[in-house]
């Protein structure tokens, strides 16, 4: 087992464990902190796949900006485990069972087609491919995808104005 495989398993276990802790934590602040850990592990996966730009953007945008927004809103509302709404145990059980069946179906699909995609190259290898570098991504983003990039700014402007209008006291 090479270093890439060991790192993959460590990061995968970290990702899955943190994601489960996001769901089962009673305190919403703990959920946010575990979600930040999940995002860092996913960024590690991106670095393993030589998508360096996306790894950094994932840390800055998700773990930095969005999670601070979540934390700020939770602290604004003074939520903690005492104010956590209780849910029926049967509803929880049914939710877990249905999501488990979804997982079972998707895993079965992957296993069914697994022998057809066998023999393809290993993708988590270091220093292979350079499409994840910001130089190449930026070149494509500002030539081929220039119009969607500009539309993105309009989307952000409308989201910002919408948030202000919604949050305004009437």
């Amino acid at each position: 087992m090479g270093i890439a495989a060991i790192l993959f398993w460590i990061l995968s276990v970290l990702t899955i464990f943190s994601a489960i802790m996001v769901v089962v934590s009673k305190n919403p602040v703990h959920s946010v902190l575990w979600l930040i850990a999940t995002f860092f592990a996913i960024s590690g996966h991106y670095i393993m796949m030589n998508a360096q730009f996306l790894a950094i953007v994932n840390i800055i945008v998700y773990a930095g900006a969005i999670m601070v927004l979540f934390l700020f809103v939770i602290m604004l509302m003074n939520l903690n485990s005492n104010t956590e709404p209780r849910k029926n145990i049967w509803a929880k059980l049914i939710g877990v069972i249905s999501a488990g069946m979804l997982l079972w179906i998707l895993i079965s699909v992957v296993r069914t087609f697994s022998d057809q995609i066998k023999g393809h190259p290993q993708i988590a290898t270091f220093n292979t491919g350079n499409i994840g570098l910001i130089k190449n991504l930026g070149q494509v983003l500002f030539t081929q995808y220039a119009l969607p990039f500009e539309i993105t700014s309009v989307l952000f402007l409308s989201a910002m104005i919408g948030a202000v209008v919604i949050g305004k006291k009437n």
Binding site: A5, T15, I16, V22, V23, P28, L35, T38, H45, Y46, M49, L54, V61, Y62, A65, I66, L69, F70, V73, L76, M77, L79, E84, P85, K87, A91, V96, S98, A99, G100, L102, L106, I107, V110, S114, I117, K118, H120, P121, Q122, I123, T128, G129, N130, I131, G132, N136, L137, V140, P148, T152, L155, F156, A159, M160, G162, A163, V164, I166, G167
Partner: protein
């Protein structure tokens, strides 16, 4: 690592997000589980883009997948800002973030 492992990881992450949406009643946690599902999709897109590069041989093949991940992050950020504003407004009216209060949009 072969692509199957990344598919399995992303599928597991997505299912954990589905579990969270189904069993939690706190609206903020439901939002965070939607973020988990978006990140599972992002991970799968990056893995497939990497595989595409390795199979096609062209050093710039599969760059579209990573651009899509960038756009998904942009849309998620916009969605979070509007959604949290809605949750704050709802909390101001009902003093709770229980999504069962949201089964009526009137009042």
């Amino acid at each position: 690592m072969p692509i199957q492992y990344y598919i399995a990881l992303a599928v597991t992450l997505f299912s954990i997000g589905v579990v969270g949406v189904l069993i939690r009643r706190n609206a903020i946690i439901v939002f965070m589980c939607i973020e988990l599902m978006l990140n599972a999709a992002n991970l799968l897109l990056v893995a497939f883009s990497k595989t595409h590069t390795a199979v096609a041989g062209n050093p710039l093949a599969g760059i579209d997948g990573q651009i899509f991940v960038f756009f998904i992050m942009v849309v998620a950020a916009a969605e979070v800002s509007v959604g949290l504003a809605i949750i704050v407004m709802m909390y101001r009216n009902t003093h709770s973030t229980d999504i069962n209060f949201l089964n009526r949009l009137k009042n």
